[in-house]
Symmetry: C2
Subunit: 253 residues, 2 copies
Amino acid sequence: MPVEWQPVQQSRTHELVLRSIEERVVAGELRAGDRLPPERELAPVLGVSRSALREALRVLETVGVLVAQPGRGPDAGARIVRNPDDALGRLLRLHFALGSYSLHDVLEARVVLERSSFEGAACHAPIEDLDEAAELVAGMAEPGIGVSAFNDLDTRFHVLIARSSGNALTSTLTSAVRESVRPLILRALEAVEDWPATARALNAEHRTLLTLVREGSGPEAADLVEWHIRGLHGTLVDGPDGPDGPDGPDGPR
Amino acid sequence: MPVEWQPVQQSRTHELVLRSIEERVVAGELRAGDRLPPERELAPVLGVSRSALREALRVLETVGVLVAQPGRGPDAGARIVRNPDDALGRLLRLHFALGSYSLHDVLEARVVLERSSFEGAACHAPIEDLDEAAELVAGMAEPGIGVSAFNDLDTRFHVLIARSSGNALTSTLTSAVRESVRPLILRALEAVEDWPATARALNAEHRTLLTLVREGSGPEAADLVEWHIRGLHGTLVDGPDGPDGPDGPDGPR
DNA sequence: CCGGAACATGTGGTCGGACCACAGAGCCGA
DNA sequence: TCGGCTCTGTGGTCCGACCACATGTTCCGG
């Protein structure tokens, strides 16, 4: 069976530098917390100019593998870190804006990921996280809350549950996906006719979700969050009421 | 409720440039296919040096939003594109190497994503994709196939199913996650005691999976692929036989 | 002896200019 | 008309210099 043609090896210098550093990371020679030599030393060692090295470092910085800060002392210089969240968020946000992913795709991805998040949270969420989530839910229930503030708290609620599920990867993915649709949800909420009623309904769902997680009812929480997300995204596509009407497929809750 | 402190606004020039371009993308002013002005023109317009602009462009390139090629003509210059897969793959690969995500996290993420992929594929996979998948399965069944070649075909099989599920987002995520564990799976397969027998077992699962997808049995395919993935990852952590023994939890298939 | 202020050092960040390699555009002659 | 040549514009690279900043380090006065 013939293998597809591969694009020919790019010979841009900064890509070679990047590959060199990446190999060290993958091989485990560079680990989180390690410091790279100063740019002015590393560049001649690699046989490239400082500019080319800097472009490679910039790439590593954008994928959340490197941070650099000027100055002097133990905290200065370029350090290997593990911060994938910002990078993933930027990536999905831009590509969603470019139309790489349809709203339907994002909806299904959210459903799949957050079902897993809530099931995981029901199993091993630390109690402090649930208390913090309760505060967020209470904040969303404050009368007269604005759409923007509600959206912020809602985002933090879903992200917090994802983080407390104990799975760093699905947590990162969940956060990134939720953040990428934040502006869309904001616009949808602003377009809602009866905002106080919508907020009350969403809050009721949030409270039930939290209760289910607290009592360890993973599958029930997963089903509810799926309904919760589908309902909200339904308003994005089809207007204030989803295709199933204002109540869930099993009638009012 | 007080909001957490936000890190103070960085004033690095290339980040300001980046933000400026990102805003245009998010606002829809820059769309896929559009060309950016030449670096030598854009830099003075933005009031920065060419180096700073280039670092911003490099960031956009690494997130798969931009490609640049020298020369002259309609294809030359910097163009907005939509190519998130490479970027996501590099991101997950590096962070997995750095230990941001445990093997268990990746396992659960794969299960969740590929369940969705196979369910989607059972519903709307085009027949050509299934034929191509059948070729891949046949390739994996060739006697005397090497571990490396098997791993390549297996990766392509799972990625192909994800792509044919009709959801670009979960497809991208699935590919990236599968690629990130490719070297680990390769090592695990190399350590297997009776490789021909293992290959036969995996091939039987692949054939059944494909059959289930062809006949539209989404839930059954999802259950089987979950077992398929858990079994393989079990060999990564616990040796050739997973914790449930060589057969599934419901006995031999 | 102590403390604070001034200075030296080293880091990433930025800038401007120069040159290179390459690929299309356009010209020119056969 | 066609083939080759030159021109031009693009990104890619390199160099040298300077800036801003944080930290050591020194030095001087108390």
